[in-house]
């Protein structure tokens, strides 16, 4: 696979954490609560969650299952309406951001349309949504190259491995140059080797696109390796436990996971999770 080479080549060295061209807050949540009504009664998925995500940053939502991290991501994406509290995405209602195609979403199981080829899956956002559809700076072909799938344009999803399908999904999410990329456990179903490689590549994509990324995971190592900040959520009901700054230098390589600083941060997150 040539993927790591393709993306590694794009690795732009980052001078400062706050990048040029992006300013202010990408996401603001203010006392967000979400309650679902099920057959067994009302379930509180999120209870008074407040957070601010800087534009251009990489924030990970970490927590045990049932802590509402996917729900929080869906509230930001305007897929779930909060029962209480306010949400602002890029300074406006989430719906406005969605209609402007400022939000890209990567699902847990890639959610490719099996009847479309890799390239046709990437071009889907340009075909639907009427006036919302707007092409980004990069062509769909270039995006497939960016995620290391040059030459696989005409392959159907069933011909691709799990990791390759997830790469197509990332390319699809980037096709309209979203200012905010939301990722819901995108590598959760992959084997560890593929997952490590995609983690490295994702940092490359983040650096080359300059987009804000909110990433959901239940892997401590993934959270430390990828993020600038980790928001730990506690379960039942889902609420903010602690916001941890990850001040590891950029660019990051997988070998960094053996450094004392990395181990210390991972240990700290585990301690917090134990009390969740």
């Amino acid at each position: 696979m040539t993927a790591s080479v393709a993306i590694g080549g794009l690795g732009v060295s980052r001078a400062a954490p706050a990048r040029a061209g992006v300013a202010g807050d990408a996401v603001r949540c203010d006392g967000v609560s979400v309650r679902f009504t099920t057959e067994r009664g009302t379930v509180t998925a999120l209870d008074g969650v407040s957070l601010t995500i800087r534009a251009g940053s990489f924030l990970t939502l970490l927590g045990p299952s049932g802590c509402g991290k996917s729900t929080l991501l869906r509230v930001i994406a305007d897929l779930v309406a909060p029962s209480a509290g306010g949400v602002a995405v890029l300074g406006d209602r989430p719906e406005v951001a969605r209609r402007n195609r400022d939000i890209g979403f990567v699902f847990q199981d890639a959610a490719l349309l099996p009847w479309r080829t890799a390239l046709q899956n990437v071009t889907l956002p340009l075909e639907v949504g009427g006036s919302a559809a707007r092409p980004g700076k990069r062509s769909p072909q270039d995006l497939l190259k960016l995620v290391g799938l040059g030459g696989w344009e005409n392959a159907f999803p069933h011909e691709l491995s799990g990791g390759m399908r997830q790469r197509v999904a990332i390319a699809r999410a980037l096709v309209s140059d979203p200012k905010l990329l939301l990722m819901d456990e995108p590598f959760g179903a992959l084997d560890e080797i593929t997952r490590d490689r995609l983690n490295e590549e994702l940092l490359g994509v983040w650096e080359s696109t300059g987009t804000t990324i909110v990433f959901v995971t239940h892997s401590i190592y993934e959270a430390v390796f990828l993020s600038q900040q980790v928001l730990v959520l506690a379960a039942r009901p889902g609420r903010v436990r602690e916001l941890v700054d990850i001040d590891l230098p950029l660019p990051r390589q997988l070998g960094m996971r053996e450094t004392p600083e990395f181990v210390r941060l991972a240990g700290r997150l585990r301690q917090i999770l134990e009390t969740c």
Partner: protein, 280 residues
């Protein structure tokens, strides 16, 4: 030395020309085996049938020998084809009508939940009436021409297609729907880009069932007050104790049914080129 090592290392994955040829020959052999085995079984069964008729001296009107059936197939080919034509027209028309109605109603059901709740039980009830019971009612309603036969063929196709189509349109990956919402897609786009595409494999399994059942529907329709068609010929041959003709008629009807099924299968292969992600 290095070359040799590479050779040995590679042989497990990329075969040399000789190995490749052996592999292809084996593949061809297996393919022929798959084709020839059922053919051999058919020939063996025909031989057994013939032997039994000769050995036990069975009267032709009880069970004719395969030779007698083939003779009728050749000698009375004109009559058989003249009777196949109306049956073919009725079953194909019924197939088109029944499936078109099923697809249209499935579309309405998916968009209007109330309609599904109100009418689906009625569709189930109509489906529980046996074809032989529906046939006389439709003949009384629609007369003696082709119409009641087409109606029966259509009714018999309708239900499996309706059920499969509703499932195919509804049984969509929920993340695909969330994706379409993130993309601010309209209901129409969700229907055509997701639901219709998703329903195609379901639709084609129903169409393949319908291809053979529509022929059965037309034949059953012809049993009641008809003078032409495979169904009418079956009744006439039975009453005349012309059993070789009866067998030949059945053979013609089945062959047509199998061809109809085959055509739908060919269309399916051209339309549905992908495999379900979930079956993966």
């Amino acid at each position: 030395m290095t070359a040799q090592v590479t050779d040995t290392a590679m042989s497990g994955f990329v075969a040399d020309a000789e190995e490749q040829a052996r592999f292809l020959a084996r593949k061809r052999q297996l393919l022929w085996r798959k084709r020839l085995l059922p053919l051999g079984a058919v020939i063996a069964l025909l031989f057994l049938w013939w032997a039994a008729v000769v050995l036990f001296d069975i009267k032709p009107f009880i069970a004719p020998s395969p030779v007698a059936v083939v003779r009728v197939l050749i000698q009375r080919f004109d009559i058989l084809m003249a009777n196949l034509l109306p049956t073919a027209v009725e079953s194909v028309c019924g197939f088109l009508l029944g499936n078109f109605a099923a697809i249209a109603i499935a579309t309405v059901f998916v968009h209007k939940r109330t309609a599904e709740e109100a009418f689906f039980p009625i569709a189930v009830m109509i489906n529980t009436i046996p074809v032989v019971a529906k046939a006389p009612i439709l003949v009384l309603l629609l007369g003696n021409g082709m119409e009641p036969k087409i109606a029966i063929a259509a009714l018999i196709c309708f239900f499996p297609t309706l059920v499969n189509m509703v499932r195919g349109l509804q049984d969509v990956n929920p993340q695909s729907l969330e994706l379409m919402r993130v993309l601010s897609a309209s209901q129409r786009e969700v229907f055509f880009k997701i639901r219709v595409q998703n329903s195609l494999p379901y639709l084609f399994s129903a169409l393949k069932i319908a291809a053979s059942t529509s022929v059965i529907g037309a034949i059953v329709g012809e049993w009641i007050g008809s003078t032409r068609g495979i169904g009418a010929l079956i009744i006439q041959a039975t009453y005349a104790f012309d059993t070789p003709l009866l067998y030949a008629t059945i053979a013609v009807g089945s062959t047509f049914s199998a061809c109809f099924f085959g055509v739908i299968g060919l269309i399916e292969r051209r339309v549905v080129k992908w495999k379900s992600e979930r079956a993966h």
